[in-house]
Symmetry: C2
Subunit: 259 residues, 2 copies
Amino acid sequence: MSAPVSLPSLGIVGAGAFGRFMARHLVPHFDLVLADPRADLDAIAGRLGARAGTLDEAAAAGITILAVPVQAIGEVAHALATRLPAGALVLDVGSVKVKPARLLAEALPETVDIVCTHPLFGPQSAADTIAGRKITLCPVRGDRADGVARFCGDVLGLKVIEATPADHDRELAYVQGVTHLIGKTLLTMALDDFDQTTVSYDLLRRAVGYIADDSADLFRAIELENPFAPEARRAFFDAVRQVESVLEDAEHRPGEAAP
Amino acid sequence: MSAPVSLPSLGIVGAGAFGRFMARHLVPHFDLVLADPRADLDAIAGRLGARAGTLDEAAAAGITILAVPVQAIGEVAHALATRLPAGALVLDVGSVKVKPARLLAEALPETVDIVCTHPLFGPQSAADTIAGRKITLCPVRGDRADGVARFCGDVLGLKVIEATPADHDRELAYVQGVTHLIGKTLLTMALDDFDQTTVSYDLLRRAVGYIADDSADLFRAIELENPFAPEARRAFFDAVRQVESVLEDAEHRPGEAAP
């Protein structure tokens, strides 16, 4: 199936949960080729109205988005390096930005433009609509970030935030770190499906529900590939211990001042 | 200001945040008298369209709701015991139910009916509307719980759940315990107002925002007056430690299997 001649080409490398989610939202705007070594790629691409292609084809599209685990960015960047045409634009969508920005800048030729991105939503949290959701853009090389920002804002309806990779990782270390630590804690508790729930508890469970199906790779990326994650993690665990200690004191001296 | 003769009388003891919130929703349906030792009671009652009254008047109303901290239930129940007419109905709205149910049953004469309640929402989480919010009812003495349930469901539009005080406290130890422990942890972390937030993080902050203004008395009641709170607290802190230990292992052996 060939797309109308007017649509620009775009390649997505990686047909995992996020790659497919992204393809669904980009396919109306691009002649989309999806590359992935998985056996059922034809069926996946077919369902999305995209073409199944090779890494060469995804690289030749002119705009190529890497939707692979952060842990695989370096390897994929090296594989793409010799396949990308001069003037190509490469983007990623990983949950950390310092490391992918460095790896892409190191691996890809100077003639290739790079914009790193982090869509701050996913297939669960934006199942209904992506309009109004946030995306961080980090311009890394070339002057294409403004065009990407306009597409994200005007065409997709996203709220675009521009940041350096370090500023992104510093904020997200807390934002995603705290969310995922709380999520893992609640999953570890294996709580019953309670009937007598408060409004706050229902919101908490919704927040955790959105990340419950996130991959182990994503959790590892958030916790181990973000240079600010250890600091955020320590702040969380220290705060928990402080709350625990205040409560232990209160338990043993029930008449004392409130915690 | 006197109410139309057709409205039944109802007394609320306690004009704190929850007492006022409740008065606002009950005043269309009752000739409402609000009792509280605070100096600005006249002004508060006036703004709500209720009458400021004495404890005697709130007791004489025939239906009396205690909107006092759980820690004060015993004292208020004793003060009411000699003031209530035979056939009166007494309710409370505290966040734990085993202890108030026992204290009310012990303090109030056998001729007084008792229904303990826990509205699972508050001035923050139900600022827009109470319709569809949940309330737990625990029948303690007499046969008035069905009437209370009908009023809550049909007139106020609440979702009514009937439970024993023990069943309530067991569930809520987890539901409120986990929410408030996470809330206290995030408040202790004193997180910045981040710009690059995920959908899950926004929900989490909303959940915490609803309880951020809760009183120290309420936190103490949830954590120290619920017989199941120590068990729930232990489960939470144990789960946090388990997550921390998995992450420490992963940090030191980055090549290993994902947590």
